[in-house]
């Protein structure tokens, strides 16, 4: 019986390899064909104009940023609805897990890159606020029977402002996404400690050593030069600061991988068409996930950029990976 199990297992693995080869062939054929117009453009441009991937398509590097901008400009209004529908609400759990791993303390300064509609920043401020409340409750409990000295100390302390003001900066290259995020913040009544900045992850508009925590959630695969984004992250973090990245990655379980692929390529563009009226953008989204390096490779990229103690956790069997590193 064990022998037959092993045989079946080997069969499964062989099938999955064959599938990977087929997709690779499919990818190269499609991207090869699309060389036509882009190579013509290449010859007319400055020599040394490189190309990169845009989903399964090959485009000049200069064009990728523009096309990504268009994608997010089109989907911005329905972005949050689509996230809920596509991930069946699980993206909220992933973001909660990011915050839990982050465990920010009151007074922390967060830079939320590709923050778009503000999910991470809102959670950050909420978390820090609840931490502060818990601290206050703890100090209140320990001072159930205060001495007169304590009471007079309290009066003088109340005059000062809370010394630890947490701040979250949402930085995104796309103005539409930031607009949607700002409207959400207004409707939720969150304004203290939150700022919205237009900026490119490859060239951040901030000085060195500014932030305690740098996060980029589901944004780094859209950046044209990932290594530049990582170097910028290193630059703007304070020494001891933490880099955290949530991103779609390679699914480890072969059964789930097959189901995930079928769902991604068959259902997600259809949902994109029905809900957001945009098939192509969601086709790009699922293709860009496949082009992003896997967990180990991305970990090496982060280490190469100069981060230490780089680790990653797989969430939902590798559908999403949470990478973390420190600037020391």
């Amino acid at each position: 019986m064990a022998a037959s199990m092993r045989l079946l297992l080997r069969r499964v693995i062989r099938l999955s390899h064959r599938y990977n080869n087929v997709t690779a062939a499919g990818v190269s054929a499609r991207s090869g064909c699309c060389w036509g117009p882009s190579t013509c453009r290449c010859f007319s441009d400055v020599a040394g104009d490189r190309s990169t991937h845009f989903g399964f398509e090959t485009v000049p590097e200069t064009e990728k940023a523009k096309r990504v901008y268009k994608v997010f400009e089109n989907v911005a209004q329905k972005y949050d609805t689509m996230n809920d529908v596509m991930s069946l609400g699980i993206h909220r759990l992933w973001k909660d897990m990011l915050l839990h791993a982050m465990h920010p303390q009151p007074g922390a300064r967060l830079l939320d890159v590709a923050g778009g509609t503000g999910d991470i920043s809102f959670r950050f401020l909420e978390y820090v606020r609840s931490q502060q409340e818990r601290q206050k409750w703890r100090t209140a409990r320990s001072m159930q029977t205060p001495s007169s000295q304590d009471i007079s100390n309290n009066y003088s302390a109340e005059d000062e402002d809370t010394p630890q003001e947490s701040r979250a900066v949402v930085c995104d290259i796309n103005k539409e996404m930031l607009n949607v995020g700002r409207k959400r913040a207004d409707s939720m009544g969150i304004s203290a400690g939150l700022s919205w900045v237009v900026g490119n992850a490859e060239e951040l508009p901030f000085d060195d050593d500014q932030f305690d925590i740098y996060t980029i959630a589901f944004g780094i695969r859209n950046v044209t030069h990932i290594d530049q984004a990582l170097q910028e992250a290193l630059r703007v973090l304070k020494p001891g600061g933490r880099f955290m990245c949530l991103e779609f990655s390679k699914v480890t379980n072969p059964v789930l991988a097959r189901i995930y692929d079928a769902y991604s390529f068959q259902m997600i563009p259809v949902l994109g068409e029905v809900i957001a009226g945009d098939w192509k953008s969601y086709q790009y989204l699922v293709e860009s996930i496949r082009k992003f390096p896997d967990q180990e490779e991305f970990k090496h990229m982060i280490e190469d950029a100069g981060f230490y103690c780089v680790k990653y956790n797989n969430l939902t069997s590798g559908v999403v990976a949470l990478h973390s590193g420190f600037k020391l």
Binding site: M1, S4, M5, L8, R11, V12, L15, S16, R18, Y19, V22, T23, A25, G26, A29, R30, C33, C34, G36, P37, V255, R258, D261, A262, F265, Q266, M267, P269, V270, L271, E273, V274, I275, G277, W279
Partner: protein
């Protein structure tokens, strides 16, 4: 012992399921590659290279078409302003009706010419100043008047994307572009009542499920007086004419701008409308 037998049969079925899924994916991807390779050899397209049988074509499996049909139907009902969803519903459900229409066109000499020459009705192809100089009562002049009164443009039609045959996609596109001309021929404005009347006519003429759905659900949004008008005179007239009229897609409208509209109606076997429905000043009623 029995448990182990059950488990191994379970694995066997699981293995067969993976194989089936794998084959589906393989077929889907290889189809896309083949179509792509076929078209990469042909040059001279003004658009950049596209995947599929025609510019804008997106391959869809039967499951995807089913989900698109249901999803777009729900979305269109939920938000009537989503005309793109109505278009998608038409494409996902109209395969048989399109084949029927295409065959009707092939059997008609003028329709056959249209299928060969593939004319498109767009602002860029229409000579508006020329049409404005035509006498009143001519088809071209009335069409221009219709565009002005109802504040519409022939360029607002979405491109066909989900029809998996190049000729049928053109038939669908032609149907969309002829819709405004039908409004002119039937004398119906673009308010809700006019649209429903035209939908009834189209449902009887083309048999497209999307038209039938629109014909059934459209009246739900009408006021009682208009509903009465629809069911007593406009509706029966539209259905009757839809059945007896010649195939409206088989007419080369672009060559008949100077023809009198009454003449054209007679040729198509369409009675003039029993009631004059006025266009309202506001677009959304």
């Amino acid at each position: 012992m029995r448990i182990s037998v059950h488990i191994s049969t379970m694995w066997l079925y699981a293995g067969r399921l993976f194989q089936w899924l794998n084959q589906r994916q393989y077929v889907l991807i290889s189809k896309a590659v083949c179509a792509h390779q076929v078209h990469s050899s042909s040059t001279g397209f003004t658009d950049s290279c596209y995947n599929g049988l025609y510019p804008g074509h997106i391959h869809t499996t039967p499951i995807q078409k089913a989900v698109l049909a249901v999803g777009s139907g729900v979305a269109a009902l939920h938000d009537p302003h989503r005309h793109d969803m109505v278009a998608v519903l038409g494409e996902a459900t109209g395969h048989l009706a399109l084949i029927n229409l295409r065959d009707k066109m092939r059997n008609d000499p003028e329709g056959y010419t249209i299928l060969k020459e593939r004319p498109r009705i767009r602002l860029s192809t229409l000579d508006l100043s020329d049409m404005a100089s035509l006498p009143d009562g001519s088809f071209g002049r009335e069409y221009l008047r219709f565009l002005e009164d109802n504040d519409v443009t022939p360029d607002s039609r979405a491109d066909v994307r989900f029809v998996d045959d190049e000729e049928l996609a053109y038939v669908m596109q032609r149907y969309r572009e002829v819709h405004d001309l039908l409004h002119t021929l039937l004398g119906m404005p673009t308010n809700m009542l006019g649209e429903v009347a035209v939908k009834w006519f189209e449902a009887a003429q083309t048999g497209l499920p999307m038209c039938a759905l629109g014909a059934v659900l459209g009246p739900l949004r009408l006021s009682t007086s208009r509903l009465k008008l629809l069911f007593t005179s406009l509706g029966p007239w539209a259905l009757r004419n839809g059945h007896r009229a010649r195939c409206v897609l088989s007419i080369f409208y672009e060559r008949r701008w100077a023809q009198s509209i009454e003449d054209l109606r007679q040729e198509l076997n369409i009675e003039p409308p029993p009631v004059i429905v006025r266009a309202t000043k506001k677009r959304n009623t």
